[in-house]
């Protein structure tokens, strides 16, 4: 693996029947970077993420280099309802002494006292924090987030954004978040990719210093530019505002 790349993808093409979802896609992610992948539904962003997570087999002609330690958080928490919270966090962890590690990860997401709870008793936000702890406890080099906050209410989402940024700063995994929410992308990431028809249509650095605010002029400008990339007309934006 080259030293300045955590992820390197060359010529990734994915077809489902006659439908080409990814079209000779190239992608490089730098170590410790936080990248957002924006795209309309059907743009292939979930397919790309699934390939990176190893859930879909990579086609033979593509060249894909990934770190060994990959973890993911999905749109739904996907906790095993028959395992207590800490067992869910420790799921599949190799070695002994997994319980203290799971407990430490739970403490980091602020759920130490829920370690023995059943997943069915958690709120949506709590369950998603457990999913985050389950990903972090593996100390991943690559953290994949597949619209992890889409199903949460607005207030919980704000808290989750802060939590994800804190954890990213402390642990420093290369992070790729798939989202259709432009605000979320601009708020979190230092690089935004726009996926369109299976190709990366835009690759934009976010130079706004953190903490970022929705009112910041640079924020507003970037947001407008990204919406335009996604094909949302300026008039629609103005009317909605």
């Amino acid at each position: 693996m080259s030293e300045n790349r955590t992820v390197s993808v060359r010529g990734l093409t994915r077809r489902f029947g006659a439908n080409t979802v990814l079209h000779g896609l190239d992608l490089d992610l730098e170590p410790g970077s936080f990248t957002a992948l924006l795209g309309r539904s059907g743009s292939g962003k979930t397919t790309l993420l699934r390939t990176l997570a190893g859930l879909d087999p990579a086609p033979g002609d593509a060249e894909i280099r990934l770190p060994a330690a990959v973890a993911a958080v999905f749109q739904e928490p996907r906790l095993l309802p028959w395992k207590r919270v800490w067992n869910n966090v420790a799921l599949g962890l190799p070695g002994r002494e997994v319980k203290p590690r799971a407990e430490r990860a739970l403490a980091e997401v602020g759920l130490a006292r829920h370690r023995d709870a059943w997943p069915a008793t958690l709120s949506g936000g709590e369950a998603q924090r457990v999913a985050l702890a389950r990903a972090l406890v593996r100390e991943p080099r690559l953290l994949l987030l597949d619209e992890p906050f889409a199903a949460l209410d607005a207030l919980t989402r704000i808290r989750m954004h802060a939590l994800v940024l804190d954890l990213w700063r402390v642990h420093g995994p290369t992070t790729l978040i798939v989202t259709h929410d432009v605000d979320e992308a601009v708020l979190l990431a230092d690089r935004v990719l726009v996926l369109d028809a299976g190709r990366i249509a835009a690759d934009i650095r976010v130079e706004i210093p953190r903490p970022r605010s929705h009112g910041d002029a640079r924020f507003v400008a970037l947001r407008r530019r990204l919406l335009a990339e996604l094909g949302v007309e300026a008039e629609v934006i103005r009317e909605a505002a």
Binding site: A53, F74, E76, L80, P81, W82, L91, G92, P119, T121
Partner: protein, 276 residues
């Protein structure tokens, strides 16, 4: 069903004024009033000579007969014989059901080999196999146990197979991302996910096993609750017949309670049990 009704009544209680609170207890006992009244009417009718003893014995006569059978050791003896038949048949049938469900649930090849014949066989009313079983296995213990085993294998197979296939593929996917291999997936995701469905099957299997036992014990038995009933029929002892029926009912209830207790432990994670 009755549990739901009770639960609803209890959940209403906090909204009632304090003075009315003792009432729900009375309401619980009220449920037993009408069965009690029926038994009292039955007793009165028997004593008045309206119900002939050879039609149906009086409740007191039945109680006396039960006591007599119990003290003489006759009832415990027959009970043990019947229990041994059910236990053996269930052990064989449930094991076979589980093994077959695992084979066809966990592999495509297994499904092709096992599932089609199982689905065809299950449409057969298994009690209709009695004549064939007598020809195959004679009239000893074997056909009785085989009938119980057959009756209990199918519910376990069908529900466990459906349970395995019904496990949320998203959970299996998450398991794979977090490093579970096939064995880990089966152990941590698929089997626990299929357990609730499998336990429903086990309850059906128990019901089916008792039914099979009743039929099986009509086949030339020399011991067992069924023998007790058949023997009593020859002597017009309706009291003993009713004692036998009551024992069958109690056994069924007991087995169901056992499974429920197991469910409460094994499925403690289910939302409805957490709240309870």
């Amino acid at each position: 069903m009755s549990e739901h009704a009770l639960g609803a009544r209890e959940s209403l209680a906090p909204s009632l004024p304090r003075a009315v609170l003792p009432r729900p207890n009375l309401a619980r006992y009220r449920r037993f009033l009408s069965p009690l009244a029926i038994v009292l009417l039955w007793q009165a009718a028997s004593m008045a000579g309206l119900i002939a003893p050879r039609t149906l014995a009086a409740p007191t006569t039945i109680l006396a007969a039960a006591w007599e059978l119990l003290v003489s050791g006759e009832l415990p003896h027959h009970l043990l014989v019947s229990l041994a038949r059910v236990a053996t048949g269930l052990a064989i049938g449930v094991t076979a059901g589980i093994v077959l469900a695992l084979i066809s649930g966990l592999s495509r090849l297994g499904e092709e080999v096992v599932d089609a014949p199982m689905q065809m066989l299950r449409t057969l009313p298994f009690l209709a196999l009695v004549p064939l079983f007598i020809l195959w296995f004679g009239i000893g213990e074997t056909p009785k146990i085989a009938l119980v085993a057959l009756g209990s294998a199918f519910p376990v197979y069908l529900t466990l197979f459906a349970g395995i296939r019904g496990v949320d593929p998203k959970l299996a996917e998450a398991g794979r991302v977090f490093g579970l291999d096939r064995r880990g997936l089966i152990r941590h995701v698929i089997l626990p996910g299929a357990l609730p469905s499998g336990l429903v099957g086990l309850r059906y299997a128990l019901g089916s096993a008792w039914l099979s036992l009743v039929i099986a014990e009509q086949i030339n038995a020399t011991a067992g609750i069924g023998f007790l009933i058949n023997d009593a029929r020859d002597f017009l002892r309706t009291d003993v017949i009713v004692v036998g029926l009551l024992v069958y009912a109690l056994l069924g209830l007991g087995a169901d309670a056992l499974i429920r207790a197991f469910e409460r432990r094994a499925l403690a994670w289910r939302p409805n049990l957490i709240k309870a």
